[in-house]
Amino acid sequence: MSVGEGLTIRGASALGLPLPASGYARQAYGNVTPDFGPATWLRVAPDGAVTVFAGKVEYGQGIRWGLAMAAAEELGLSPGAVCVVLGDTGRVPWDIGTFGSQSTRHTGVQVRRAAAAAREALLDLAAARLDLPPDQLICHGGHVASQADQSRGLTFAELLAGQEVVREIAAETPLKAASEFSVMGTRTRRVDAVERVTGQAVYAQDVIRPGMLYARVLRPPAYGAQMVSLDDSLARRMPGVVGVVNEGDLIAVLAETDQQADAAHELLASEWTERAGNISQWELPGVLAEAAHNPVTTQEAGDVEAALARARHRLEATYYIPYVPAAPMEPRAAVAEWDGSSLTVWAGTQRPFGIRGELAQFFGMDEAQVRVVAPEIGGGFGSKSLYRPAIEAARLARAAGRPVRVAYTRGEEMAWSTFRPAALITIRSGFDGDGRITAWDYQAVHTTTDRPMIGQRGSETPYAVADARVVVASGVAPLRPGSYRSLGCAVNHFAREVHIDEIAAALGIDPVALRLRNLPDARYRRVLEVAAEAFGWRTAAAPSGKGVGVAIGLDVGSYAAECVAIDVQGKEIAVGRVSSAIDCGLVFNPEGVRAQMEGAIIIGLGPALFEAAEFENGRLLNGSFARYRVPRINQTPAISVALVGSEANPSTGAGEPGIVPIAPAIANALFDRTSKRVRELPLQRQL
């Protein structure tokens, strides 16, 4: 097969697959069918330009930057010299989706290998041309030159002129040792920043196609409502309206402009039958306490009931964490365009290949006839894995015979996206007078219906307990459950880390000391010690009145600890500063990890302090920014981030761990400040 002039590096796709049958992605998104490749991961064009191809998407986490740094390191380039093509199913290797903080640890390593393979190929070409052995050559700045005499060299373009070279990525291709890094591990300029500050970056909301129609979809007035009748006669007569599509489960106005579509949508007259028995927000904790199904034991050791019976001290408490919408800045949008029997959809989804499969299945097409392009994505935090506008736009475009844009309003984004599931968690613990935990019984119900994996994540206790039982069950889901930064991990950690604080307070032991007394994992201990030291933690039992709190977390293989200082004024909690530490193994891009930690802490302030979905009778009550408060710049604490990972450990996730400890750390600080123990989020509603 000809791949064109220049150097092409091919290798396996579907890294880290097949997934376990019980895995989250398989449960959440159906039967994923991986394409294992081989696919093109890297190209050096005849003019010497380097392009990396990867199936991940960029939704703020900076993966384009990280992958450019990885390739630049192995090829001796600056990151800005590497073009990275992402998320276009027509151009990049198959990928399961951008979630679970997998991008650096799987794709990043594969891109490094691809770039190293390219370097080896260029060294071989130069060795023949310069009549020197490859180990006496250096690849740097777009040249391969003699180490002894760097004026003896050839550019990538000179090496590749008229050649078609194809290499496979091999596991044995040597990667640079961490001690030789000159790009990875250093502070670099984000490669895609200029497009973002000049308005040139194109998001799904920004895609405009020739002849495109603007759609406005009719949504039910409440979850589960069924349409009884529709009168679209007025809407059809409105200026600019091309038609009203009614496919039963998809009704939409199509017009020549967005405003014309909005105006006609207002005139659709519809009657609905609402579902009986909708659960409202205040009923949910009681419902979860009554009815749980599909309990899964995620951790079991010894005999927890016997250990509780003989424990010197016992504590039982119940914690409630409500639903939270992700509320990304960019409401989801898609543009679909048919060309004969082939379909292209621009969609800001975290799962372009998954959405391609869904489109192909719906229309009974071969996947090769469907191309999904994920442009820049204006935030998602997990919620853009499920992505309904793609299929809506494709159906409407088929009906109209013209390209169609479906762009959610803020209200649609809030109400018709997905939510971090709510949970009710009861913990019974036993412990001795020195603060050693001797019994641990953890019973959680998450509103996950058929996706119990969401709630299981992070449920196991990291504290050494001989007799422990952790059971996670599913409960009814009045709102649609979906992914959200760290999934159930932050939810489970809230209950556990507050409970640990309660044990410390019951015994009058410093909460940092109590954690260290029960924590065997050296990496875990180190992040806690580093965060406490950076914070200037002074040993004291809570409540000290100072308003300091601590919590730790483990997610996607990475360890995090956070110490916070707060103040309370009336019903407002002001978080003054956060000292954090993370161990995510070998760090590709330290600025990227710091930004992810800061971002995870700041977004985490919302669900900790004031964010929650309010719903009643099948309606979201706070589905607009007028009714939904989010953290603002003037409430942002001073944040320090310590990177304490060892380069000897493989890279693990950095996007999610930072959100895991923040809510319990603040709840614990609230107790330290006010002596009031709050076991329900968001905290400010309990003041």
Binding site: T198, G199, Y203, P328, M329, T409, A595, F625, R632
Partner: protein
């Protein structure tokens, strides 16, 4: 017909009731100005009209008739970025970047009014702009850097 200047170019808008944000994004293809909420609450659609920040999602073209509208696309001069844009790049003051045009336009207006703001003034001026990725500390540093008030 409404006349207005957009990034220095004289434009005729046919429909005076045309929403300014939609006009900029879909009629002029200036998609750097973003839709976030449509209620003037998130700041993603902020443009400058005669130097003053305006939530374009709540405005009609008629309401800015004769005005000089500056969008994010109109800030740089050729290849050279506006100092506020440059500072956002230097401080990596962005993640997904969707809110960033609104922050930059608001910051440009602040610095025109208060050339040497302190941290409190920066925070106050930007408190009505939302960022969900949590780039706030870096945005604050970038605005101070652009003003030559680096901490």
């Amino acid at each position: 017909m409404v006349n207005l200047h957009v990034n220095g170019e004289l434009r005729d808008a046919a429909d005076p009731r045309r929403n300014l944000l939609s006009y900029l994004r879909f009629d002029l293809a200036l998609t750097g100005t973003k839709y976030g909420c449509g209620e003037g609450l998130c700041g993603a659609c902020t443009v400058l009209v005669d130097g003053q920040p305006l939530r374009s999602c709540l405005a009609t073209v008629a309401s800015v008739a004769g005005g000089r509208v500056t969008t994010i696309e109109g800030l740089a001069t050729g290849e050279s970025l506006h100092p506020v844009q440059e500072a956002f790049v230097e401080e990596t003051a962005l993640q997904c970047g969707y809110c960033i045009p609104g922050f930059i336009m608001t910051a440009v207006a602040l610095l025109a009014r208060v050339p040497q703001p302190d941290t409190g003034q920066v925070r106050e001026a930007l408190a009505e702009n939302m960022c969900r990725c949590g780039a706030y500390p870096r945005i604050e540093r970038a605005v101070l850097r652009a003003a030559g008030c680096e901490r």
